[in-house]
């Protein structure tokens, strides 16, 4: 039995090695090294930093929402960030959303908790037309939809290099002109989005100093939360499930040993 256990371990290790080799090989495809930040939500027990995510919503609403939709989000979802119903209502009181009145005529009315986040453009064509042909993507699950996830988003937001700081070699290699936006982390580097953030782009309600870095980190945490609002429940459930399975495995092992005692 000892020998077969060893063999099983070896093949298990082989399988794992192949998996991670595969993953490493895939990861190696994107040569650009992302900034790696210690996020509050990382690790098996990590949770969302509620105040950072609230500030992040402010950044989204005041800056990004001019171009990007988040069509999978409802305003009521914001209550999961530790805001009361009243607080969310006052956050959205100035937002006007399109609707139909009782006569079927298009109107604008104040947003309700049950509304989806308002989209800046009526459709993707309009979005592209307003942005030099590149439609700004929906940000609801963007944190899951890019390799590197939050690290990539954060990097993207702080990774702009002004034209006069580029080396001649970079300008030549990537064919950059004065009107292009060069981003260190965007694949291909030339991105259709002008640098959206800068120091003091917003004035935080909680008095936090609004540096570029702070804004980028806050909005990234907001987007990470939006992509997976149930992450904390997932991890909590996971801890319980695994403890339960461990106990059951221990029990099964004890029973198995006693059953086999007379055979081996």
């Amino acid at each position: 039995m000892r020998k077969s256990m060893k063999r099983l371990l070896v093949s298990g290790a082989l399988a794992l090695a192949s998996l991670s080799a595969g993953a490493a090989a895939i990861a190696a495809g994107g040569e650009i090294k992302l900034p790696s930040k210690q996020w509050h939500f990382q690790g098996p027990f990590g949770t969302y930093d509620r105040s950072a995510a609230q500030r992040g919503y402010q950044v989204y609403q005041e800056v990004c929402a001019a171009c990007h939709s988040m069509s999978l989000m409802y305003y009521r979802n914001l209550m999961a960030l530790g805001l009361t119903e009243g607080q969310v209502k006052s956050l959205i009181k100035d937002i006007q959303v399109p609707d139909l009145n009782d006569d079927g005529q298009p109107i604008e009315r104040p947003a309700k908790l049950s509304d989806r986040f308002k989209s800046p453009f009526p459709n993707a064509l309009a979005a592209a037309a307003a942005n030099n042909g590149k439609a700004p993507p929906d940000l609801s699950v963007i944190a899951k939809a890019r390799a590197g996830g939050p690290d990539y988003l954060y990097g993207l937001l702080i990774g702009y290099v002004p034209y006069d700081k580029l080396t001649p070699q970079q300008i030549k290699e990537f064919d950059v002109s004065k009107d292009d936006n060069f981003n260190k982390y965007f694949p291909g580097h030339k991105i259709g989005m002008a640098p959206p953030l800068a120091d003091d782009k917003v004035t935080y309600a909680d008095g936090t100093k609004a540096t570029l870095d702070q804004e980028a980190s806050d909005v990234t945490q907001f987007l990470a939360w939006a992509a997976e609002p149930h992450m904390e429940a997932r991890k909590r459930t996971g801890v319980r499930v695994i403890l339960f399975l461990l106990a059951l495995a221990g029990l099964m092992y004890a029973v198995k040993r006693s059953v086999w005692a007379d055979k081996h």
């Binding site: 256990m5 063999r7 080799a21 699950v141």
Partner: protein, 411 residues
């Protein structure tokens, strides 16, 4: 069910006795899962049949629940999956179980197949049992492929486009077959509809084939790590409680690893691009299938000719069907095949290399590497196996299972 195990069981419970007299399901269970004589020397590799069965049941259970909330329409599919993730109570759990369940089903089946190959479980009299296994494997691949299309992300769409397009390589009827698969002239709504219908249907066909697989298994009983037949009661133990308990323990360990992914890295095995809604106008930089298809994907791309690639890919599974006749050695278990054993490990490494090639764009040295690995894969089955059985000198087989077990305990 050749071996008879004495008189039929007597049931004390009147209801059970009444039913069993008319429909002998309890006698069947008693005979096939309780007293069933099973070799006493299984190692933990023998757990993976039970583990695969558990995964099959789990996939069907979670799949049916998902289907109650899923919309097979190109305009709604992506959002409906997100709705399950976000708004349906515990929907995220069901989805993460199903999504990672497919990967873990494949892990179990791959180990199960390796076990069969290493210990020669495909040899007489278990050829049909093995062939049914390969049929299950094929059905499983078809099911997983169509399932991956359902969330209608970028990889769903482009994966479906690439794979269905392969059939156009078939001479003469190719394009008609592709149009028929699509239900139109591109991967569109009808494609999604039919993939959903078949994704729901195939697992139940798998259940039926697994039933046949188990029937075939119970005719001659299981093989074992020594690859020699049990000669009497001293070589076997009743299936219950000996193997029910051992399988139960193995299943728990497997589920713990599985739960680790489900709860702490649910997207690790997936591709980020599948969280971008399908867009026929934007092709992803690299179209890659799920990890469990990568070795076959590498074989497909290793051949510069489209039809050749398709034939090689299907041939890679085809050779498994005839494996019992390619292997000319009379000894089952690699334990007693000093040379072949190393070639088995080499085959595993070869398949891993193919997987890595499949994960990377077909550029630079990945191209010759994939071609070399493909060549080796077929060399192993078509040339090495038939010859090796003739020239290899196997180690002496132990007189009986009990003898070997007792000797191991003593030494």
């Amino acid at each position: 069910m050749a071996s008879s195990h004495g008189t039929p069981p007597v049931f004390n419970n009147k209801v059970i006795a009444w039913i069993d007299h008319r429909l002998p399901i309890f006698s069947y269970l008693e005979k096939e899962y309780h007293t069933f004589p099973t070799p006493r020397n299984f190692n933990y590799f023998w757990n993976f049949g039970a583990i695969a069965t558990v995964m099959l049941v789990l996939m069907i259970a979670t799949g049916v629940v998902l289907a109650t909330n899923y919309q097979p329409n190109v305009l709604m599919a992506f959002d409906s999956v997100e709705r399950i993730d976000r708004d349906v109570p515990q929907g995220w759990l069901i989805r993460d179980l199903h999504m990672n369940g497919a990967s873990f089903f494949f892990i179990a089946v791959y180990i199960h197949i390796f076990r069969g190959m290493y210990y020669g479980s495909y040899k007489a009299p278990r050829e049909l049992l093995w062939i049914l296994g390969v049929v299950i494997f094929l059905l499983l691949m078809a099911t997983a492929f169509m399932g991956y299309v359902l969330p209608w992300g970028q990889m769903s769409f482009w994966g479906a486009t690439v794979i269905t397009n392969l059939f156009s390589a078939i001479p003469v009827v190719g394009q008609s077959v592709v149009d028929w698969l699509w239900g139109g002239f591109a991967v569109e709504n009808p494609t999604l509809n039919r993939f959903f219908a078949f994704h729901y249907l195939l697992p139940f066909i798998i259940v039926a084939v697994v039933a046949l697989h188990v029937v075939a298994l119970h005719v001659h009983g299981s093989n074992n790590p020594l690859g020699i037949d049990p000669k009497g009661p001293q070589d076997t133990v009743p299936f219950h409680p000996y193997y029910t308990m051992k399988d139960g323990f193995g299943v728990m360990i497997f589920l713990i690893i599985y739960a680790g992914f489900v709860f702490f890295a649910p997207d690790y095995l997936g591709h980020p691009d599948n969280y971008i809604p399908a867009n026929p106008l934007v092709t992803p930089d690299h179209i890659v299938p799920e990890w469990y298809f990568l070795p076959f994907y590498a074989i497909l791309r290793a051949i510069p000719d489209k039809l050749g690639g398709v034939l090689a890919m299907f041939g890679a599974i085809g050779v498994l069907f005839v494996l019992p006749w390619l292997d000319t050695s009379r000894v089952r278990s690699c334990t007693f095949r000093p040379i072949y054993k190393w070639f088995m490990y080499l085959l595993v490494i070869d398949v891993v290399i193919l997987g890595i090639c499949g994960a990377n764009p077909p550029e630079g040295w990945y191209v010759p590497l994939a071609q070399l690995a493909t060549l080796y894969y077929f060399f192993h089955f078509l040339i090495l196996l038939p010859i090796l059985g003739k020239i290899e000198r196997p180690l002496p087989l132990p007189p009986s299972i009990a003898d070997a077990v007792l000797k191991q305990k003593a030494g």
